[in-house]
Amino acid sequence: MSDARAIDAADWQRARLHVVTGKGGTGKTTVASALALALASATDSPKRVLLAEVEGRQGLSQTFDVPPLGTEETRIARTKPGGEIVGLSVDAKAALLEYLQLFYKLGRAGKLLEKFGAIDFATTIAPGVRDVLVIGKLYEANRRRKDGRHRGASPAAYDAIVMDAPPTGRIGRFLSVNSEVADLARVGPIHSQAESITDLLESEQTLVHIVTLLEEMPVQETIEAIRELRAKDLRVGIVFVNMVRDPLLDDVALEQARNGRLHKASISGQLADAGVKASPELVDGLLQEAYDHAHRVDLESEQLALLEETGLPLVLLPALPEGVDSGSVRELADILLDELEEVGLTR
């Protein structure tokens, strides 16, 4: 097991590539989007953040209310101090052709490769090659300077990169597939590309964040993912606890609701005084809802305790009552900024 220490403010400062994973349905894309917005507006100096999705789901275009993203880097949002978010949907096939063109000036051979199904083979079937290409695209973006070159004194093209990554079930393999390919392709450019990518992923420039809900399965997967990522020498950054709802009853009332001891007659009396026709069914219904609520609160605190045991910084994000859109994701980004300060990663 590698560095199991929780990250601190210095680690956060150094990180450039933020990989966001989580069980399906936990709101990975929303959190990745909010994180990108938060990074872009984090300080007084304008920041340029690349936000990339890698599974062609067009979740970013839905979140930001912009046309479907292609393989061109396109600005999808601006933030207050002059920062911006550039969106990208990384496509393995396009990345491979671009890569071949770049390194081999293929021309005719590129077309031939396509014709023989070699491109399809490499991008959809050859194990790991697809993942190397996808991560490789971000590796390239990470190295790119403002003048478009990959070395020199020009400042970095992007201040940070946020990847909306595959879910927890596949993240370990996705990120370590580079070493898998390095074993399969023992020499050649794919091999060295895979090695450089692995170096980047294992460096302090990369943090893997996990999004979860306060439910059994996502929390279990989060804990397993932490173990798996660390075993693969990857740094786990933040656990984002998404869609958190505040208890709507105080502790005393919750305790009474849990044990069915909320005083029915006096509640019924209060409701009647306030002008509600407090039929027994209505009061029973309200008590049932309180009972359900108390149990959910209990389940959630059980799960939160499990997450706290990991010792990692936990960033709690509220449920968005109206669902996710380009407005509410900005609200979430503001909360995220405050929370980062709260857990001591920023000032």
């Binding site: 349905g25 936990t26 599974e55 979740g59 071949l100 081999y104 005719r108 051979a109 031939l112 023989f116 199904g117 399809d120 083979f121 959809t124 079937i125 194990p127 790991g128 697809r130 879910p167 079930g169 898998e180 074993d183 399969l184 392709a185 023992r186 050649g188 450019p189 794919i190 091999h191 059994e216 399965m217 996502p218 279990q220 709802r245 709507l248 009853l249 009332a253 009474q256 909320l262 005083h263 509640i267 009396g269 209060q270 409701l271 306030a274 002008g275 069914e281 209505l282 009061v283 219904g285 309200l286 008590l287 049932q288 809802e289 309180a290 359900d292 609520h293 149990h295 389940l299 996710v324």
Partner: protein, 400 residues
């Protein structure tokens, strides 16, 4: 949750009635239904639905086997699955009065693939395949291997069921948490076309792919392609692939045939697809894609299960009224009971608002798919970790 409690939302009741009701008990009782496939986006409760359905069917007298892919630990324990050994194990503790039986298993993808190799290649060749690095990568990380192996296992279970007179009469399959729910349908074909592909044939025998007539022109292309591939991937990679493909060649027909067979099994009348979703935008969108695809492929779709619907127990009170009264109570500065009453009303308003939103999402699905039967399953206020809670889910699946 009963219909009478929804009187505060007459519009919703009307719309909900517009979607035909998915009759789960009817499906279980129909002996013609031999395979049920539960599919949908990740995290919507597919595995729980599959397990609950299995239990209910077994208690109704069916001889059931449930194939799960990646169950939550507690759910696995509920089914008595303590080990992942790729074999169905009997589940104990359920009601056998109706004469049913229940077995459950977890899929081990690598092991299933190994078994296929061992069953179809002669011993020497099998060993060669199992040791090949390319095979090892494909069998543990090929995008779609899990889907394909779930299909393969389904085929095996079906064959076992058909060959034993007292064998299973109902197989319930959970599908892998794919990138997209559609991967499950496409996986067999993809692996098939991979093994059948021009590129693979080219790698294994360049001369064959080019054909006699075009040797000259094509031969040049072939050379260019393989030299490029060698340059990019390294010679070893290609030779590993070649060994792998050559070794698989003998079982080639087997693979394709089996993939086709399983696909046919899935499109038969004895199969029933259940699309599972949670009342969330993304999950229902995925469900829509899947329903459209199943219908386009003429696959036997039974309907949609919407899990985790919010429960409203005091339906007679609208959220706006509840909030207004809560505010009045809080303003009155009354005793603790007034505070509690206000808290209950605010909670109620939140519960109803969430439930309404969920219903609207489910209705939106039904508006664009008016013929698809739907059942809405209320959320349990606890995790499913024993047979009792699975039975409760089963009751909810069967509807009010």
């Amino acid at each position: 949750m009963t219909q009478t409690k929804e009187t505060a939302h007459p519009a919703h009741v009307r719309a909900a009635q517009a979607a035909p009701h998915l009759d789960i008990d009817g499906m279980i009782a129909d002996r013609g239904v031999e395979v049920v496939v539960c599919c949908g986006a990740g995290g919507v409760g597919k595995t729980t639905t599959a397990a609950a359905l299995g239990l209910r069917a077994a208690e109704a007298g069916r001889r059931v086997v449930v194939l799960t892919i990646d169950p939550a630990r507690r759910l696995a324990q509920a089914l008595g699955l303590s080990e992942l050994d790729n074999t169905p194990r009997p589940v104990s503790g359920f009601d056998t009065a109706a004469g049913g039986s229940l077995d459950a298993m977890m899929l081990d993808m690598k092991r299933t693939f190994d078994e296929v190799v061992l069953a179809h290649a002669d011993p020497g060749k099998a060993e060669q395949i199992l040791a090949n690095p390319f095979y090892q990568a494909v069998s543990s990380s090929f995008a779609g291997t899990q889907e394909y192996m779930a299909m393969e296992k389904l085929g095996q279970l079906k064959a076992a069921a058909d060959s034993a007179p007292d064998g299973w009469d109902l197989i319930i399959v959970d599908t892998p948490p794919s990138r997209s729910a559609l991967d499950f349908l496409d996986a067999p074909n993809r692996l098939g076309s991979f093994l059948d592909g021009r590129f693979i044939r080219l790698l294994s025998a360049p001369a064959k792919a080019s054909g006699r007539a075009g040797v000259k022109v094509f031969g040049l292309g072939v050379q260019l392609v393989s030299s490029t591939m060698t340059k990019i991937l390294g010679g070893q990679f290609l030779s590993d692939v070649q060994t792998f493909v050559a070794a698989l060649d003998t079982m080639f027909g087997g693979f394709r045939e089996r993939a086709d067979q399983t696909y046919r099994l899935l499109s038969r009348e004895g199969t029933s697809f259940l699309v599972v979703a949670a009342p969330e935008r993304d999950a229902l969108r995925e469900a829509s894609y899947f329903v459209d695809r199943l219908q386009a492929d003429r696959m036997p779709l039974s309907g949609l299960v919407v899990n985790r619907m919010g429960r409203v127990s005091a339906g007679a009170l609208t959220p706006s009224r509840a909030l207004a009264v809560a505010e009045a109570l809080e303003d009155s500065g009354g005793p603790k009971s007034a505070e509690n009453a206000a808290g209950l009303l605010r909670l109620h308003a939140a519960v109803v608002t969430i439930a309404q939103r969920q219903r609207e999402l489910a209705e939106r699905f039904s508006r664009s798919h008016p013929d698809v039967p739907v059942v809405q399953v209320p959320a349990l206020n606890r995790d499913v970790h024993d047979l009792d809670s699975l039975r409760e889910v089963g009751n909810a699946l069967a509807g009010p």
